[in-house]
């Protein structure tokens, strides 16, 4: 599962969606892998406005990466190729291959196995 995915998903339990504690989900016991992907600076520039920066900082910290800047790179900073490369590496090339994603509201954990997160709910949570 690419790190960027965690920026767009939350708990599958309906009642959790309105709780701020359900986003972002928290990675636990994460095993990471880098998978190379062509660097497209335009793609990163275009996608960045859709990224919830505070959530990405939390996710990045929990995965043990160096802290991201306090605020989202904008304008001039988007011409800095190294900044875009670093984001490309974090968002698209970093995969969580095994581990869990846990909801901060209900405590339910979703398993990640062989790179795929499984959001199917057990019957008592549907």
């Amino acid at each position: 599962m690419k790190v960027i995915t965690a920026n767009f998903v939350t708990c599958a339990v309906k009642d959790c969606k309105t709780s701020p504690a359900s986003f972002p989900l928290h990675f636990q016991d994460a095993e990471l892998e880098q998978q190379e992907l062509d660097f497209q600076p335009e793609f990163i520039r275009n996608i960045l406005p859709r990224i919830d920066w505070q959530a990405l900082r939390t996710i990045s910290n929990e995965l043990g990466f160096p802290s991201l800047p306090d605020s989202k790179p904008e304008e001039e900073a988007l011409n800095n190729e190294q900044t875009l490369k670093d984001l490309h590496r974090l968002l698209l090339e970093t995969h969580v291959t095994e581990g869990k994603l846990t909801c901060g509201n209900c405590g339910h954990s979703y398993m990640i196995k062989e790179g795929i997160a499984n959001f199917l709910l057990p019957s008592h949570l549907v």
Binding site: M1, K2, I4, T5, F8, V9, T10, C11, A12, V13, K14, K17, T18, F23, L37, Q40, E42, F43, R45, N46, I47, L48, P49, R50, L92, Y110, E114, G115, I116, A117, N118, F119, L120, L121, V126
Partner: protein, 229 residues
């Protein structure tokens, strides 16, 4: 244990388990996106973020690499095949309990999926769940757009030959070829003319455009705003 009553257990047995079994062969026969799907996906702004619910083998993830799609499928075997399509992402999820965030996405597609839900209420719920994830329109921004396809009852020129007035709820055979051919049956609800638009309306959507393409009904919709109610 078998279930004859429409609902979750029935779909588990007559849809989900079948796709798990036929994933490889099914995928090998599904490689070309349909024209309306292609048009919808190529017209998106670069950097748009969307979802593909019931992505199957991910054939629609190949259309546009300038947008980002969080795809999902109920079948882990199919989701695993879809995973290869860059730069997108695939998860396993149920259409009625999607993990995608509320009102966050620029677009959504769900192609040949809602016809696998076995009650009218569950079909409307499925559309409502997809609708929940896309951006609400306002005077400042356009609402997110969703494209939905469902198999049509009116397909008298197809190999199956069904038409208006025929039974809409059916078990449709899938023959898995190979050394030992095996037949599986999947449940389908065939949509009558106007039914998809009605479901979208009941799910809180406003239909922007709709039509018929090769044995399927399709519609493009956006969440209703205060102006529409």
């Amino acid at each position: 244990m078998t279930s004859q009553q429409p609902g979750e257990a029935y779909e588990q047995q007559n849809v989900h388990e079948v796709y798990q079994q036929i994933a490889q062969h099914f995928s090998a026969t599904r490689y070309k996106p349909w024209p309306i799907v292609e048009r919808f996906l190529t017209s998106l702004t670069p950097g748009a973020v969307g979802i593909d619910v019931g992505c199957g083998n991910g054939k629609n993830l190949m259309v546009n690499r300038d947008v980002f799609i969080i795809a999902s499928d109920r079948s882990e075997n199919l989701a695993r095949i879809a995973l290869q399509h860059q730069p997108h992402s695939t998860v396993v999820a149920d259409i009625l309990d999607l993990p995608h965030r509320d009102a966050s996405f620029d677009f959504a597609i769900s192609i040949a999926v809602v016809h696998h839900l076995s009650t009218p209420a569950r079909r409307v719920q499925a559309v409502a769940e997809i609708m929940r994830t896309v951006k609400r329109g306002s005077e400042m921004q356009e609402g997110g757009k969703i494209l939905i396809y469902a198999w049509a009852l009116e397909q008298k020129n197809s190999r199956r030959g069904w038409d208006k007035g025929d039974e809409q709820d059916r078990m449709v055979p899938w023959v898995r070829k190979g050394d030992q051919p095996q037949t599986f049956h999947r449940y389908y609800h065939l949509y009558a003319e106007g039914e998809l638009e009605r479901d979208i309306d009941n799910a809180g959507g406003r239909v922007l455009e709709s039509g018929y393409e090769k044995d399927n009904w399709w519609a493009i919709a956006t969440p209703k705003t205060a102006h529409d109610v």
